[in-house]
Symmetry: C2
Subunit: 190 residues, 2 copies
């Protein structure tokens, strides 16, 4: 919070927006929480909020401390050779999950989603609209194929980093790229 009599700096405004976003997303879900309402809670207008965060998707990613912005996923899929989408996605995914700092917020998402129905609903709306729909549209494939690829990678994260079962926990990133990338590629080849 800014102290009385002092004009809040950019960092304080940004923090106030993030705090308001966390509370609105938690209480109203991804669909229910509007950018206008979050801006109002933070005492700024929607234009300033958009200046800081760009979009509701990006605001959600920032509020959840996600190390990757969903807006970055679509270019990653479309840029580069289409026959290497599987490999690019698996490498990006493993690089995020193998680093404890960037893994932590995804782990928090997964824990919250498995134990709190309201949070699961928020995550559901975000994944559906900000990730699956956009990737499927960009690539021209059915959403269910994008979701199946995401399921493969989330299952690997669960068994490799949370349950830490040896055959997955012990494998090198390269072994996993060789094993999993063809499956992700298969889903994206539609």
């Amino acid at each position: 919070m800014a102290q009385a009599g002092r004009r809040p700096g950019q960092n304080e405004t940004r923090e106030a927006i993030l705090e308001a976003a966390k509370q609105r997303f938690a209480s109203q879900g991804y669909d229910g929480a509007t950018v206008r309402a979050i801006a109002g809670d933070a005492g700024v207008n929607a234009a300033l909020l958009n200046h800081f965060f760009g979009s509701k998707q990006q605001l959600f990613a920032a509020a959840m401390n996600l190390p990757i912005n969903p807006a970055e996923i679509v270019p990653l899929i479309l840029d580069g050779p289409p026959e290497q989408i599987g490999e690019r996605l698996v490498r990006m995914f493993l690089s995020i999950w193998s680093n404890p700092v960037t893994r932590a917020p995804f782990l928090a998402l997964l824990r919250s989603a498995t134990t709190n129905d309201e949070f699961a609903a928020t995550l559901r709306q975000f994944m559906e609209k900000a990730v699956f729909a956009k990737v499927a549209e960009a690539k021209g494939i059915p959403r269910v194929r994008v979701a199946a690829a995401a399921a493969q990678m989330m299952g690997v994260a669960l068994l490799r980093y949370i349950v830490a079962v040896p055959p997955l926990a012990d494998a090198s990133d390269e072994e996993l790229v060789t094993l999993i990338a063809p499956v992700i590629q298969h889903y994206f080849d539609g």
Copy 2:
């Protein structure tokens, strides 16, 4: 507990063993909890425990209320045409997860594993020894391929039944068999 002066019936003995198993698995993990110690806690000998439950794997499955016994998975994989392993496994998996009664204990496992490190260790040891090692050996493929197939199915369970994201939550079982079975088959074809 049996009342003083009355010989405990089979159901009471079975319940006493299950209660002792739950406590030992929770406090010592799957590897640390011995059948002998669990039998001792329940006031029976190991031979009687084995008469009731057959093996430590089956005792663990019973203590966790799992609707499927790991000893049943290997025959399911080996019986029937090898080129339909993927389809058989996906159908079995969806039939367990689509029924709220049989889903509940797996959901409890998943929740405990994502929020409790000690439970994650217990589940890790069980999956490694009672599931992945036995299936890999029976089929003659590397364990990491069995684990990757399990990761695909657990990720589908997470997104279809917990986060409940529409493209996976709305799909029919038949659509999912068509989509996922080739991937499971790919892992099992080694």
